[in-house]
Symmetry: C2
Subunit: 328 residues, 2 copies
């Protein structure tokens, strides 16, 4: 995955090389928001999926980069004060802190459209049918019926009494749609059969869910000093995630009322968090969440069953193990 | 133009029909920001340009709608508090006032990507080469090297000592690029020759400039009661536009210093505006601006010279007359 990230980094750097004049700031902010970022899971999935069909790595890299740009723009807009109001992203100041809010909004807008410029370019694939299928797939995955719709559900469901179904739907749209498309894009590049494409989509949906559930559980995983991740972020933001739903299901009436009350409040304090953590421990909600993540990892393994044994298939299957190990 | 707007309205309404669940708010905001809006100049240009080549109206309408969605999203993001902070748009509360800032950011994001979903759909044109050319053209026109880049220059050049060249460049990117592409898209749909496409692009650039210059001049046109348009908006926002550059060129040293001083201030008051208006009148800067707009109208007329006389060509030429009449 590190190798794929390095090649993509170089390509992106070239693409966003600094411009003169007043719009130079825009390109600096676009670079800031898209370079040196994260694990690059999405481009890696595109590259590995494309390899299953022996499709060109060069094409897959461009497509993966386009998908990653959509992911990066969504993080920039998500971090804005009007949205999640996060001033840190991957240990660095968020884009609107490093620059300013207006620049962050525009940089997000420009990163989004750059993804479609890349996909529509003949360098991405000589066949216009492939390019236009990629554009359509990315547009659907990242639009109102996909990623942006999921973000809206996420914002709207804060401080609300939501159920597992709503949360699953939100996650399927907010992060699942783009992860699925990352694999689907490899299948499009490889001109895969409908069955092969469906298998990869299913695989991606399952590992997407496993990642998400593990992340949600880590928010209540109290060994933060070991893992370096702050805990309680979702809790203080009023986000209902799987561990909460589990204690809601397993708890008694009194405990349910307590949870409802503290999530009705505009702000939750440290005492609220301590009491919730006690319930999480009492009902083993983190362990139960990880079990659910493990279930999806197993299911994702099965989804690849239609592909013959190969080095490429192995990499995808090891990825799901990685996603599980990451959680413990 | 009204007829084109009505057909597009119906198509958009269908496309954005309300959704159930938590993301319903997103679709309401998208509808609010894109329905009942403006003159629909851009789709009209696409439709009329396509008609020059007898290309399908139905296809042109879909393409024009996609372009209009980009225009609408840019207005939603432009109005945000961190950007121009406008609470009114076309006499109604701006999207972030009618809903909230987070929803407005997401609605803008979703409108942008919807444009690319429409263009990539086979209903837009059976030939994938045409669809992918439309995607690429729209992406370039609206991205960091086009519309968004222009917005960045606009924000960065506020309160700065900018020259005519910078302003022209900003306008060419901020509004010119999308207006040009509106005509170019008609040529792409009509599989026009390179010369025909270039002629239409030139025409669109010229009328775009004429519109922009007329709009800038109206900001200092003191008969606001007659025209119903507020004056001084650009002035108070610290935007350097053509009328100011004209008095800067024609004025004496003292007047130049006065202008520099008041544009260095964070905020300008009514006295500053009255004194500036006096200079505008003294040096006939509004009239000079309109003269420049008229020049571009004439040039745009010439650009269509390579097309044979037709009803469709007439409509495009009358449009430039309309753009001039609108100013006086």
């Amino acid at each position: 995955m590190a190798e794929c990230a390095a090649v993509m980094e170089k390509f992106l750097k070239n693409l966003l090389s600094s411009r003169k004049g007043y719009e130079g700031k825009l390109y600096s902010a676009m670079s800031y928001a898209s370079l040196k970022g994260g694990k690059r899971l999405r481009p890696f999935l595109t590259l590995q999926s494309a390899k299953l069909f022996e499709a060109s790595e060069q094409y897959a890299l461009r497509v993966g980069t386009a998908i990653e740009l959509i992911h990066c723009y969504s993080l920039v807009h998500d971090d804005l004060p009007a949205m999640d109001n996060d001033s840190l992203r991957r240990g660095r100041p968020s884009c609107h802190i490093a620059f300013d809010e207006a620049t962050a909004i525009l940089a997000g807008d420009a990163l989004q459209v750059l993804a479609f410029e890349i996909l529509s370019d003949p360098k991405t694939h000589p066949d216009p049918n492939v390019r236009v299928a990629l554009v359509k797939g990315l547009a659907i995955a990242s639009g109102g019926g996909g990623m942006v719709g999921g973000q809206m559900i996420d914002l709207e469901s804060e401080n609300c009494d939501v159920d597992l179904e709503t949360i699953s739907r939100m996650q399927r749209l907010k992060t699942g749609a783009l992860i699925s498309f990352s694999c689907e894009a490899g299948a499009i590049l490889g001109k895969a059969s409908v069955e092969e494409k469906q298998a990869l989509i299913k695989y991606a949906q399952d590992i997407g869910l496993a990642f998400q559930i593990a992340d949600d559980a880590l928010d209540y995983f109290s060994s933060k000093k070991i893992f370096g991740k702050e805990i309680g972020k979702d809790f203080y933001e009023g986000k209902t995630t799987l561990p909460l739903i589990i204690i809601f299901q397993r708890g008694n009436n009194e405990e349910r009322s307590f949870l409802k009350e503290i999530f009705k409040k505009k702000k939750r304090n440290e005492d609220d968090f301590s009491e919730t953590l006690a319930l999480i421990n009492k009902y083993k909600a983190v362990e139960a969440s990880f079990k659910r993540a493990e279930y999806f990892v197993n299911v994702s393994y099965d989804a690849l069953g239609i592909f013959q044994h190969s080095e490429e298939k192995n990499v995808l299957q090891n990825l799901t193990e990685f996603s599980l190990n990451r959680s413990f």
